[in-house]
């Protein structure tokens, strides 16, 4: 078992069940990083830009965002757009993790600057497999922001 390294994962997911399953499966694939959970787009932006209830807390660095699309208050597209249009957050990697597999939405997300788009399969075996592979992927991915640390495995 590896200890969480600096990279923090921001999980933006309105469905607590999904959030639980994602975290569970990430942990099973040995991703032990800190996972911050927020349940809507506004909270995600507040966390990223230290506003609202996160005012005063500097967001951890480096950071990686797992973003659902269909969110209350502000949806995933808006979050993505805000992040990519602000230089403080534009280099933070964003992985879209959503149930929708509509090709138009996929291309829209890539146009807005997401880094990876993953569909949550309904079938749980496939779901677990997808999250496990994401975990494996995260374990080798390089995160920008100065110090160039690997996610600790």
């Amino acid at each position: 078992m590896s200890k969480a390294y600096e990279v923090t994962i921001l999980l933006v997911e309105d469905d607590p069940g999904h959030a639980r399953l994602i975290v569970k499966n990430l942990r099973r694939s040995n991703i032990m990083n800190d996972i911050v959970k927020v349940s809507d787009g506004q909270q995600a932006l507040d966390y990223l830009f230290s506003k609202g209830k996160y005012a005063g807390d500097n967001p951890p660095n480096p950071l990686l965002v797992l973003l659902d699309l269909n969110l209350p208050v502000l949806d995933g597209y808006q979050v993505l757009q805000s992040m990519k249009s602000d230089e403080r957050t534009s280099s933070i990697p964003v992985i879209i993790l959503t149930t929708t597999d509509d090709t138009r939405e996929v291309s829209r997300c890539y146009e807005l600057g997401c880094n990876i788009y993953i569909t949550k399969p309904v079938d749980y075996k496939q779901f677990s497999e997808a999250i496990r592979k994401l975990g494996l992927f995260l374990s080798i991915v390089m995160i920008p922001e100065g110090r160039r640390r690997y996610v600790q495995v």
């Binding site: 069940g17 999904h18 399953l21 509509d102 399969p121 309904v122 079938d123 075996k125």
Partner: protein, 617 residues
């Protein structure tokens, strides 16, 4: 008939003219005779009688002189009288001789003789006077008178003159007869002319009468026709539901029918004489002005307009306006106005419905998204946590294995049944239900996408396409020994992928729903009509019960046998796709005999064109 009448006229006129000319010539010749009589014959006759008279006077005075000498008579001496008579005679003779009315050379000769004799008469008379003055005896002188004067001069002269007079009288008589006969002829001619003129006049009268009767009848009939037409036209204009306005060149109303007046809430009388601007709100006036420009160029047009009613409200109308011309000059505008309030209302409603439809299309699209995302989200949890449950169950199972032998038999039974049968069975149900649910969602998504996918029309050889589809079904066709007949299929303009979907689904169904108890038969055929191509796919399968017919094209419905796998969405896709090709699809079936699916594809689809999803217009 007309030629004959003309010929008759011409003949009579010619005849009249001929008679006229002849009469005229006759009259002229009579006139000439008269001129001759007046100018020559009569004066000459008078002259001759004067000569005769003078000659007698000379003889008488000469004899008187012989007997009485130069006595005074009536204030003059006889000699003076004689001298005067001589002068007369000379003058008369000269006058007669100089007269140009000599009838031939004989006449001339006679005249010359008259001259000679007169000269001699004068000279002998003078000689006798002279002899008397010289004192000659009276008997001598009488002897001279008797021998020389009487027998040689006076009497021949008198005879000559008598003859002359007789000749002249003869001439007068001839002239008289001539005149008489010519006058008679003229009278005859004039009578004939009179008769002919009367005839002509009668004929003319007859013809003119007939013509006039005809003309008058025609005129009366025409007038009656015109009157009827006028009444008819007025009836139409007065009673038609469309408003009719007639404007003069300045734009003032010269006629307004009751419908037009009623449309505006005025009476016709109130509007006549008014300018059109009274009835057109100022913001609409430019429309009329530009339309009137066209009228001046002789162009008719239709346009929509709002009119101002007397009460200030507006009424939408459709105007058909045409220019009026009098003697080739622009004389104003005739416009027919139709109240289109209802149409406008309907248009408004239609637009409202169209908007609603668009909105609902949007909502459907939204719904598809919601289905794809929101309905899936709980499914992920259901599956996920039942998976988690299952793995927890396995952990419990392996942990409880050690504890199991320590339980009594009954408890062992309960725990193992729960752990190894009931719970896994419950989880199986949950999972299979979720799987089905997921399949339904995917099917709905697919249907929605078929409805919205952009179609690209190209030439599709249906023969080749159907053969390709059949190839994918070759396994079943061979296995169940199905006889597939494909008649010659045309080339059509359509979206290739849609055609593959349609044919694929229909043929799939035909194969799926065959009755295993008899050899399967499937027929594919097509007929081309003017506007569409009609395709038929017939099978001799199960057939569809009447009660199930209305479910055939509905999503998630599967008619008849439940032994066939599938989501029940195939025909819903097909229907959507056929509709997007401006076509129709229907199904005829007899239960236990077979089913025929018929669909049409419009022939009016443009190659290379594409149809956007309808709601995206």
């Amino acid at each position: 008939m007309r030629l004959k009448v003309k010929l008759g006229f011409l003949t009579i006129i010619l005849l009249l003219w001929t008679i006229c000319v002849v009469t005229l010539l006759n009259t002229i010749s009579v006139r000439e005779v008269f001129i001759d009589l007046e100018g020559n014959v009569i004066p000459e006759t008078i002259a001759i009688s004067e000569i005769q008279h003078t000659a007698c006077e000379i003889r008488m005075w000469t004899l008187t002189y012989i007997i009485r000498g130069n006595v005074v008579r009536d204030g003059k001496t006889i000699k003076e009288w004689l001298q005067e008579q001589w002068a007369y005679l000379e003058k008369d003779v000269r006058k007669h001789f100089e007269c140009d009315c000599h009838f031939g050379s004989e006449e001339k000769r006679v005249d010359e003789k008259v001259v000679d004799l007169s000269q001699e008469l004068i000279s002998i008379s003078a000689e006798i006077i002279d002899l008397k003055d010289k004192g000659s005896e009276n008997y001598e002188l009488f002897e001279i008178v008797r021998k020389r004067f009487g027998s040689h001069i006076f009497y021949p002269l008198r005879r000559l003159l008598d003859e002359h007079t007789a000749a002249h009288l003869e001439k007068l008589s001839v002239a008289g007869i001539n005149i008489h006969s010519r006058c008679n002829t003229n009278i005859r001619y004039i009578i004939i002319m009179g008769i002919l003129s009367t005839l002509l006049a009668l004929l003319m009268g007859l013809i003119v009468d007939r013509f006039f009767v005809k003309y008058l009848t025609l005129h009366r009939e025409t007038e009656e026709e015109i009157r009827k037409l006028k009444v008819f036209n007025e009836d139409i204009i007065q009673n038609m539901l469309e408003g009719v306005f007639v404007e003069d060149i300045n734009g003032n109303f010269t006629f307004v029918n009751p419908a037009a007046a009623a449309l505006l809430g005025y009476s016709s009388e109130e509007l006549v004489g008014q300018h059109w601007t009274l009835t057109v709100p100022s913001d609409q006036q430019p429309i009329v002005q530009s339309a009137n420009e066209l009228r001046r160029q002789g162009i008719s047009s239709r346009y929509e307009l709002q009119l101002l009613r007397k009460d200030g409200s507006r009424v939408p109308i459709l105007v058909s306006a045409t220019p009026r011309f009098e003697d080739g000059c622009f004389a104003g505008v005739l416009s027919v106005s139709t109240d289109i309030s209802e149409r406008k209302q309907v248009e408004k409603e239609l637009k409202h419905y169209a908007d609603e439809l668009m909105q609902s299309n949007k909502e459907i699209k939204q719904f598809a998204y919601i289905v794809s995302h929101d309905l899936r989200t709980p499914l992920v949890n259901l599956k996920g946590f039942s998976g988690e449950l299952r793995s927890s169950l396995e952990e419990i199972d392996s942990a409880i294995k050690e504890a199991l032998p320590h339980m009594d038999e009954k408890k062992q039974q309960v725990v193992t049944t729960a752990l190894r049968q009931d719970v896994p069975e419950a989880l199986d149900f949950i999972e299979s239900s979720v799987t089905r649910m997921d399949n339904f969602i995917n099917a709905i998504l697919k249907l929605s996408r078929f409805g919205h996918r952009q179609l690209t029309f190209e030439t599709v050889e249906m023969d080749t396409l159907v053969q390709t589809v059949l190839k994918s079904l070759a396994h079943q066709i061979e296995e169940y020994k199905i006889k597939v007949t494909v008649s010659a299929l045309p080339e059509i303009v359509a979206d290739r992928i849609s055609m593959e979907q349609i044919m694929g689904n229909l043929l799939d169904n035909a194969v799926l729903y065959l009755d295993p108890n008899r050899p399967g038969k499937i027929e594919v055929s097509a007929v081309c009509t003017n506007n569409e191509t009609i395709f038929k796919i017939s099978d001799n399968g199960h057939g569809i019960r009447k009660a199930d017919m209305n479910k055939v094209f509905a999503p998630f419905r599967r008619a008849g046998q439940e032994d066939v796998i599938g989501e029940g969405m195939g025909l819903a896709y097909v229907k959507t796709l056929v509709h997007r090709h401006e076509g129709r699809i229907w199904c005829e079936s007899e239960y236990g005999v077979g089913t025929t699916f018929t669909f049409t594809i419009s022939n009016l689809l443009k190659k290379g064109g594409s149809l956007c999803p309808r709601h995206m217009k």
